[in-house]
């Protein structure tokens, strides 16, 4: 008697009577009708599978802080720095690899967004509770996404209509009486195939706060309203389409405490800043996958209409933009095992910007058709080589080629090595992305109204994953370098009457080296330690100098503790920001006009701390937190505040927090589909 058995098959007993060859066929006994893949939301993690070095920020991470909008979602993140652009408009900017946010391609659901006129305030346009996750990838990204993304790419995924969330409500208020309300609802329109989502956001601050007593509002008065409706259809047979529209209206009023809406901007009235924005975005994306799953075709499009009317003191700035982006992508696995695969396609960008500053009209129309191809070679699970190239024909800057390469290799199951090199380009929006500099006595002076920036980016990273005392330990070491061939240089130090916007003449580079460790030293206590050195230099007026207002290093500690069953969550973050350079003209006369600062050309290291406690209930959660616990603020953020129409007025030399400690309270309500 012989017994044949194997995992997943019926055991078969064969009685052997003659010595001859036997053929035994085993019948499978394991029939899996449904496989459920469950995922654990790990907050932020570095994927070992992706070819491009990417940090994935999940929903759990977004609960660690107030995360009222995209800008505030990076408070617990070691890679992205967030700071105020100036002391009066409330605009926030990010930095990745030590470079301004304009060098990172911002996307919403893999479609380009928050660019052009949205550059300055765009990070406030994505409400935190709308977001499902964020991906931060460093270095020039895939050519499929376009020729931008010099330093990296930040993509925000919005909650999907077919997610399990039936109703989500969020209300927030802080001690300055800034309030926010968010409401999302999903509805299944036809079976599980067609669903729709409605997302609403309203926020405002009408309380005039001047804690530092300089006569200026610490935070501008704001009103923002947003509504978004999106649809998703899937036939579960390989076809999916999504479409949606988003409407935004925002008013900002900053400046001296006594300035009121409707006041005429004159020297006899208090100094005021008013920025009124209206914005609409529509998107459509569709994808179809062939039956053999080897070919896929995707169409991605979006349209943006943006209008801004503003004044900064006596300076008017009005602008409007209409933009269309379209891309068709064909993905094909060249063999059955997907060892070789190809992404090819075409794209088209139309961007029309009309601006008016100092009575000068600055109009620009960009039309950029492009073609691209990206080849991926994956001979084994642990190795990927991705090489891409694209050619774009720009109506203003001619035809240019964008080559990019990414390599990933995972050694012995623990160490993931990545290397990348690639070129990136972008149109510098000379006025738009520097309009916060209008909060100064000095006027903007530009050489060319149209400028094209060009840079190479190279990066190396090693991610190590181990199990130490039964818990996951992740160690990341990375180095990135960006070398600019052409760049728009903002020179704030050659003239006491003008900020000069001119093309780079000489070297400009950014080196960024980061080291971070993630571990759980005690059960349910997650620890993140990170340290980054920024070495960013550019040639300003013929001299290679440190990039101004950029910290030379950043250290970060993040501790997150959840009680058993996660009924309570505690989060604490400390950011240690290194000192840096303050850009000022260095000739006689100017120095004496700006006062009360110990060191005119240098700011000292400073620390910012945030903490939050969250209590979860069955459908509710309440969170109480404090930002900037130690109440550290930059001394004298507005120079010449006592005479805002005088020659020493400047609210743009901002390197640290301009608002002190803020205690906030929020509540979330969530009801899911069963």
């Amino acid at each position: 008697m012989l017994v044949f058995s194997f995992v997943g098959y019926e055991t078969k007993v064969v009685h052997v009577e003659n010595l001859t060859f036997l053929e035994v066929v085993l019948e499978p006994n394991l029939e899996i009708e449904e496989v459920t893949v469950t995922k654990k939301d790990r907050g932020t993690y570095l994927s070992a599978m992706e070819t491009i070095h990417t940090e994935r920020i999940g929903g759990a991470e977004l609960h660690k802080a107030a995360c009222c909008n995209l800008a505030e979602s990076f408070e617990t993140n070691p890679s992205v720095d967030v700071s105020y652009s100036d002391a009066v408009t409330g605009a926030k900017q990010i930095r990745l690899l030590g470079l301004d946010g304009i060098y990172s391609q911002l996307q919403v659901e893999n479609l380009p967004d928050l660019r052009g006129l949205a550059t300055t305030f765009g990070l406030n346009y994505i409400p935190g509770p709308w977001m499902e996750s964020i991906q931060v990838s460093k270095g020039a990204s895939s050519v499929v996404s376009g020729y931008e993304s010099i330093a990296g790419q930040i993509n925000a995924e919005i909650k999907k209509p077919d997610s399990g969330e039936k109703l989500f409500l969020n209300a927030y208020v802080n001690e300055h009486q800034k309030w926010e309300f968010n409401g999302n609802t999903n509805l299944k329109v036809y079976k599980d195939m067609l669903s729709t989502a409605l997302l609403v956001h309203a926020s405002g601050l009408s309380n005039r706060i001047d804690d530092n007593g300089d006569g200026f509002l610490d935070d501008p008065l704001t009103k923002q309203f947003q509504i978004s409706n999106r649809w998703k259809f899937t036939n579960y047979k390989g076809f999916m389409t999504q479409a949606g529209v988003n409407i935004l209206a925002e008013d900002r009023l900053g400046g001296q405490v006594g300035f009121e809406d409707g006041m005429t901007p004159t020297v006899s009235n208090p100094y005021g800043i008013s920025i009124k924005t209206n914005r609409v975005i529509g998107f459509l994306k569709s994808g179809i996958v062939s039956k053999d799953q080897r070919t896929a075709l995707a169409i991605l499009t979006n349209f943006t209409g943006h209008k801004t009317n503003s004044f900064y003191g006596l300076t008017d700035y009005d602008a409007s933009e209409s933009r269309f982006y379209g891309s068709i992508i064909l993905t094909r696995d060249l063999d059955e095992n997907a060892i070789h695969s190809l992404n090819t396609g075409v794209s088209f960008i139309h961007d029309k910007i009309d601006e008016s500053l100092y009575g000068i009209n600055l109009d620009r129309v960009e039309n950029v058709p492009g073609v691209f191809a990206e080849y991926t070679f994956k001979p084994i699970e642990n190795m990927t080589l991705m090489a891409g190239i694209r050619a774009d024909s720009h109506n203003l800057f001619g035809t240019f080629i964008t080559p990019r390469m990414h390599f990933r290799y995972k050694l012995n199951g623990h160490v993931t090595f990545r290397a990348n090199a690639g070129k990136g380009y972008r149109t510098a929006n000379v006025i738009t992305e520097n309009n916060y500099l209008l909060a100064s006595y000095r006027q903007l002076a530009w050489q060319d109204k149209n400028m094209f920036e060009e840079a190479w980016n190279y990066g190396l990273s090693v991610v190590q994953d181990y199990t130490l005392w039964g818990r996951d330990l992740q160690i990341n070491t990375e180095f990135f370098r960006t070398d600019f061939q052409s760049q728009l240089i903002v020179d704030r130090e050659s003239s006491s009457t003008h900020v000069i916007l001119s093309p780079l003449s000489g070297k400009s580079y950014a080196n960024s080296m980061q080291f971070d460790v993630r571990y759980q030293p005690v059960e349910r206590l997650d620890l993140l330690l990170a340290y980054r050195i920024n070495d960013t230099k550019q040639t300003i007026a013929g001299v290679l100098k440190e990039m101004p207002l950029t910290s030379r290093y950043k250290g970060l500690i993040n501790l997150n503790y959840s009680t058993n069953l996660k009924k309570w969550m505690f989060d604490y973050t400390a950011q240690f920001n290194g000192g840096g350079r303050i850009p000022r003209p260095d000739f006689d006369g100017w120095q004496s006009s700006v006062t009360n600062s110990d060191n005119l050309y240098e700011f000292q290291p400073y620390t910012v701390m945030n903490a939050q406690v969250t209590k979860y209930f069955r459908y509710w959660s309440i969170y109480l937190g404090a930002e900037n616990i130690t109440d550290f603020t930059q001394p004298n953020p507005i120079e010449g505040a006592e005479n805002p129409f005088g020659q020493s007025f400047d609210a743009t030399n901002i390197w640290g927090p301009v608002v002190g400690r803020k205690i906030y309270l929020g509540v979330r309500f969530q009801l899911n589909y069963k």
Binding site: L30, E33, E34, V35, N564, L565, K567, F570, Y572, A611
Partner: protein, 121 residues
């Protein structure tokens, strides 16, 4: 110094919360009829916010539920009702029986058959 004070307060808070959980508790165990990881998740989310719950282990592989709760805040019958309300069976077993099932599963190396998710009303 200010920074150190903040760190101290954070850890002190965590310690207080940790010790607060160690009060006198009662244990009740059940055998259930879960099918898959989704059932486990549903039951975990539903039970953890029942009154008095201090610890909870729901396992769809061994089909067991372990609940530790603060005596006087809830009752064994309360959990039977909560499990049944979620659409699952709640057959009460002793903590010893629960322990034995887990030990047996550990010996068998968590081998289990098919996972078929049924629609529950």
């Amino acid at each position: 110094m200010k920074e150190l004070a903040v760190i101290f307060v954070f850890f002190f808070g965590i310690t207080v919360i940790s010790f607060a959980q160690k009060a006198e508790n009662k244990v009740v165990c059940f055998k259930s009829d879960m099918d898959c990881a989704n059932c486990e998740k549903t039951l975990t989310e539903n039970l953890k916010f029942e009154k008095g719950v201090k610890d909870l282990k729901v396992d769809h592989i061994t089909n067991t539920i372990y609940v530790e709760y603060k005596d006087g805040k809830n009752s064994d019958e309360g959990f039977v009702r909560a499990i049944e309300k979620s659409g699952y069976k709640a057959e009460k077993i002793t903590p010893d029986q629960y322990k034995k099932i887990l030990e047996q599963a550990a010996e068998e190396g968590h081998l289990h058959g098919s996972e078929v998710h049924k629609i529950r009303k």
